[in-house]
């Protein structure tokens, strides 16, 4: 189809093409380099099944916690006027730009056995997050929550405060309005935020390994396993990476049409 405004300029088309290649070629290369003959054996390996299961469950748990904690925070940022809202939003966003390793160190300082909160928790309950599956979930939540909060806040803002006003004149309490109006209107945005948070948790490596180490069955998630495997067996690492790629693309495709709107 001809664009009535004229041909798109080469100055834009060429970098656009380069960008596409940069994003796509490495994935294609990975698929091409996979040793398909040994793939079935790799996929049957116990460490892979353990790590994949751990990754999926911890990422899902983290996404659910992000939902429970992040939705209210996003609502406060979108709907409550207070003096330090800008400051709060900036604080919430810090983990977005923080190197994950630093996040791991921060979590260790807070929730480690000798940490600011970790020590009293350990004294009171005998439980410590560090080096446990719960620690993995905690580090996932830490890195994913900002994604969820920022995305959902945008969705709440787009849902329009005027509908809240309409609900109020009909006698709805703010909680009823949140439940019956704001959340349904923002639903696609909320789902998009959750998928984003889930994907971020699934890929989390730096914070998790720094805070929790790398114990098969409890803290060894897929990225950890891939990293460790790659040092000894390139083919196995490729196979594992391929699995992660398929899982990620699969989730994206499954949710795209239903909730993420644009095809």
């Amino acid at each position: 189809m001809r664009d009535p405004l004229g041909r798109p300029p080469a100055l834009l088309l060429i970098p656009a093409g380069l960008a596409t290649a940069l994003l796509v070629v490495p994935l294609v290369a990975m698929v091409a380099a996979t040793n398909w003959a040994s793939l079935p054996d790799q996929l049957r390996s116990e460490p892979l099944r353990q790590a994949l299961w751990l990754s999926l469950t911890t990422a899902t748990a983290a996404a659910l916690i992000c939902l429970v904690l992040g939705l209210p925070l996003a609502w406060v940022l979108a709907r409550v006027d207070f003096r330090f809202r800008g400051v709060l939003r900036a604080l919430v966003s810090v983990p977005l730009v923080l190197p994950p390793v630093v996040a791991g160190v921060a979590l260790r300082t807070t929730f480690g056995r000798r940490g600011l909160l970790g020590e009293p928790i350990l004294d009171l309950t005998g439980f410590s997050f560090a080096f446990t599956t719960w620690g993995v979930v905690l580090s996932h939540v830490f890195v994913s929550l900002p994604f969820v909060v920022i995305a959902v806040e945008g969705a709440f803002r787009a849902a329009g405060r005027e509908y809240d006003a309409a609900a109020a004149t009909l006698g709805a309490s703010r909680w009823t309005t949140f439940r019956r109006v704001t959340v349904p209107l923002a639903f696609p945005g909320i789902m998009a935020g959750l998928v984003l948070g889930w994907a971020r948790a699934l890929g989390e490596f730096g914070a998790t390994i720094t805070f929790n180490g790398n114990y098969p069955g409890t803290t060894q998630v897929m990225p950890n396993l891939i990293y460790v495997t790659r040092q000894s067996d390139q083919d196995a690492a490729l196979a594992l990476s391929l699995v992660m790629l398929l899982v990620s693309v699969g989730v994206l495709l499954a949710l795209r049409d239903r909730w993420l709107g644009t095809p």
Binding site: Y163, A165, A166, A168, L170, G171, A172, S173, P184, L185
Partner: protein
């Protein structure tokens, strides 16, 4: 239950007036006069100072949820994810009515507005007129003591607006609470309302029956709305029709006292006549025949004289009950 209003929304509106039980008040005024702010302040969706006493309670002291006020918003604001039925049932359900009963009541309201068979549709699947009926039904389904309608007929097709105006008038006359209808259309004010409140720059410029307001307008805006000229003459105001205005190029002979010199600002067809807007002190409108318009070469910026006979004007005092300022 009467409603005694004395409220201020800083920078928007500052109004003091009392509404009688069961009356329908039309609020008119130019854009930015504070019409919307007034009803939003009464609904509780905009914060205001002052008071609005109704049956011993001050509405302004209550949060919006507890005011028992129905509001029809400009642009309707129907919940897009809910069906028409669920939209209308939303109010009763929020006030604790069980779902089945709330939906039965909602269906009744939709039936009453003649759209009972559209109850399962979402707002996006309704025409403008149908959606507006749902919005009015939604506001009435909470059985409010005070019904506020913010430009309910704006943006509708002329025919649809006409039909809905008649319907709305019928519903409002059978409604026993107080209704406040914001409009920019003189027809709404003159046909539906018991009284008309004219807002100008946030203040009450005039409050009276439709007849009073249309025959003795105190502001240029209302005069324009009802198609009259209004001019201050000493301590009195005079109003006259555009047909009574004579347009000439030379200074009128016989030197009538009521004459103005100015320049043509706009010329537009008006029925069989040509309506000429003249920038004078103040702006005036005159209706002339197309032949006269051609002969006088009435085009923008042409200097003309306007005059009107004393016998053709209505003269009236600016009443002492005056609250706002009059700038005719």
């Amino acid at each position: 239950m009467s409603l005694a209003i004395d409220l201020r929304v800083p920078g928007r509106v500052d109004a003091r007036f009392t509404l009688e039980p069961g009356e329908v008040l039309a609020v008119i005024g130019p854009n930015g006069a504070g019409k919307s702010s007034l009803v939003h302040a009464l609904a509780g969706t905009v914060s205001a100072e002052g008071s609005a006493e109704m049956a011993g309670t001050d509405l302004l002291a209550l949060p919006a949820q507890e005011r028992e006020v129905g509001m029809v918003f400009q642009g309707q604001l129907l919940f897009p994810h809910l069906t028409a039925l669920a939209n209308v049932a939303f109010g009763p359900r929020s006030r604790g009515v069980p779902r089945a009963e709330a939906e039965a009541r909602a269906q009744e309201w939709l039936d009453r507005f003649g759209i009972g068979d559209l109850s399962h549709r979402r707002p996006g699947e309704l025409s403008g007129g149908q959606a507006q009926r749902v919005a009015i039904a939604r506001a009435l389904a909470t059985r409010p003591r005070l019904l506020l309608l913010d430009e309910p007929l704006t943006g509708l097709d002329v025919k649809v607006a006409m039909a809905l105006r008649i319907e709305l008038g019928r519903h409002l006359s059978s409604y026993d609470g107080i209704a406040v209808l914001v409009t920019h259309d003189a027809i709404d004010a003159l046909t539906i309302a018991d009284r008309v409140l004219v807002l100008d720059e946030g203040r009450v410029a005039q409050l009276g029956t439709p007849e009073e307001v249309s025959q003795r307008p105190r502001t240029e805006h209302v005069a324009r709305l009802v198609g009259l000229n209004v001019v201050r003459d000493g301590d009195t105001l005079i109003s006259f029709t555009p047909q009574a205005v004579a347009v000439s190029l030379a200074e009128p002979v016989g030197s009538p006292r009521l004459r103005w010199q100015g320049r043509v600002a706009d010329v537009s067809p008006h029925g069989d006549a040509v309506r000429v807007l003249v920038h004078a002190a103040p702006d005036l409108i005159a209706d002339v025949t197309p032949a006269a318009a051609t002969e006088l070469d009435l085009t923008p910026d042409r200097a003309v004289w306007l005059s009107v006979k004393q016998t053709a004007v209505r003269r009236y005092e600016v009443g002492p009950e005056e609250v706002g300022t009059v700038t005719p």
